[in-house]
Amino acid sequence: MSLSSLTKPWAATSYGFLDASAKRELRRKMLKAIAVPGCQMPYASREVPMARGWGTGGLQVTLTLVNPTSVVKVIDQGADDGVNAASIRRFISRVSGAGETWDTLAASIVQSRHRVPEEVMREDQILVLQVPNPEPLRGVEPNISIARQMHADADYGKLWLTLYEQIVRKGRIMQGAGYPSMVNGRHVMTPSPIPRWDVPKLNMAKHLTFLSAGREKRLFAVPPFTRVEPLVFSDRPYQVEHHADLTCRRSGVSGYFMNELPIDGGGSAFEVSDSNLGIKAIQQAEGAAVEIGKTWYRNGEFSA
């Protein structure tokens, strides 16, 4: 009798770089985050082979969720082909055996820095947002202990006051990315630095969203079909960026969130921020059989 006859053939039992106890802790915190939408859960952020601030929070959540049957899409400011996005995607695939994709419709997990894809995500998809600063009260209360008490008491008066001050000083709310939003009518979260354009996509969305900050060691979640309401005064409606009339110079699509590019001689050109949507539009125009899913915005108007 040999030793090999007594053992099973080798097979991976733990996927995704993190050890089992790290993933167990993260899963518990993720379940808690789902149970209390928008509430920040502290976790022991592990070392990953990437510098803090480059998406380690999102990466740890993705590595906890991923398995060999997963299909992973990683985007950086909407682009699949950025160095950071490509490196993270390749790393996740290598340590877990998961498939890679650029297509939002084909992905089971979408890890993103600062954008929500333009195509509507489904119930079976998970969005993981990388968050640099998870604390919406940081600007009004630098003491974290007091900020936690303020969350516990739903004491968001100072946060509202900053919006009031912006209108008084500038005539409009100047908050661009990371617009403070009330989740499920209870906790205010900063929805990572996604543009205002993307915040309505989280409201009553079919997909589950995790937002994780590795450096700050906190994660929070927006479960499916949960209210996400930007803080706005009743007589000052929420406004998204005025991109409805802009057209992508490469793909020709319009009515989506655009990147502004300065051009020689002054002026600006625009390219659709969700690069895969632009690629699919170009392929479709060339006659390829490419499916473009339903998008949250249609002709610049939020419609989903």
Binding site: G157, K158, L161, Y164, F233, S234
Partner: protein
């Protein structure tokens, strides 16, 4: 309380003595900070529409008592009730932090001696007033502006400067912003912690005039803490004299000033005179 007083004082006192139900009642309040006994079995009662003055030397416990009234601190023992319409909160010290905050936001206003304690110095003056309304749940920008303007106007603050930051204003103006913030929601109880200390005499007089007018027009119940007997004499209907964390004398202002019973009160009055 002794009714042994001059006829003039008795004439002024009688209608007030007939008030039945106090707005504020504190019973047996004691508080110790380390080895220091800040308050010792203090009782306090404030009736609707009156101005209660609290006097005493530094360290006598008057500001500690005021902080208790504003629910900023909890005593070692004692009860505190406020008689508010359609509410029965029982002992307010038993409320949760959230309940205390909401109660104070809606029903209690406070003006601190140091405006830095009461104001956000880098926000606009109107924003400071608006914050109180925001905590109470107001979500209309136009309503916030209107109510902030009304409160600042009632505090005789120049409306042309309503969006100036308090840090850019004089001490007297800062106190007016605090006052506007405190009265924005028409509180049942207004607490004033040495509101004129540190101001020059002419500005003191203006602030006191504003307070008197507010008290006359809006019938706001006030508790005024000061070590300046002149201020208390000008403003208060009743006076509580504190020393070493204890109330040594309490009575109608005229009675206390004209016929002080306790040796410490006599010292105070004569020192002033």
């Amino acid at each position: 309380m002794s009714l042994d007083m001059s006829p003039a004082a008795l004439t002024r006192a009688t209608p007030r003595l007939m008030r039945a139900e106090p707005l504020l009642t504190m019973r047996d309040i004691s508080k110790t900070y380390g080895d220091v006994r800040a308050l010792r079995h203090v009782d306090a009662t404030v009736y609707p529409g009156e101005v209660m003055g609290i006097v005493g030397e530094s360290g006598s416990g008057k500001s500690t008592l005021l902080r208790m009234m504003n629910l900023e601190d909890t005593p070692d023992s004692g009860d505190y009730t406020l008689r508010l319409p359609n509410r029965d909160d029982g002992n307010l010290f038993d409320l949760t932090r959230y309940e205390r905050r909401m109660l104070c936001a809606r029903h209690i206003g406070i003006v601190y001696q140091n405006p830095h304690l009461g104001l956000l110095m880098r926000h606009s003056s109107s924003g400071n007033v608006a914050e109180r309304l925001l905590i109470a749940g107001e979500r209309s920008f136009d309503v916030l502006r209107t109510k902030a303007r009304e409160a600042l106007d009632a505090s005789e603050f120049p409306l042309s400067r309503m969006d100036a930051r308090p840090i850019e204003l004089s001490g007297g103006m800062q106190q007016r912003v605090q006052l506007a913030k405190a009265i924005a929601l028409e509180p049942a109880l207004l607490l004033l912690d040495e509101p004129t200390t540190g101001l020059d005499v002419s500005v003191q007089a203006l602030v006191l005039d504003t307070l008197k007018r507010l008290q006359r027009d809006r019938k706001i119940t006030m508790v005024l803490v000061s070590h300046d007997l002149g201020v208390i004499r000008t403003m208060a209907d009743r006076v509580m004299v504190m020393r070493h964390g204890e109330v040594v004398e309490e009575g109608l202002a005229d009675q206390v000033f004209q016929d002080p019973q306790h040796s410490y009160t006599q010292q105070l009055v004569h020192a002033k005179l």
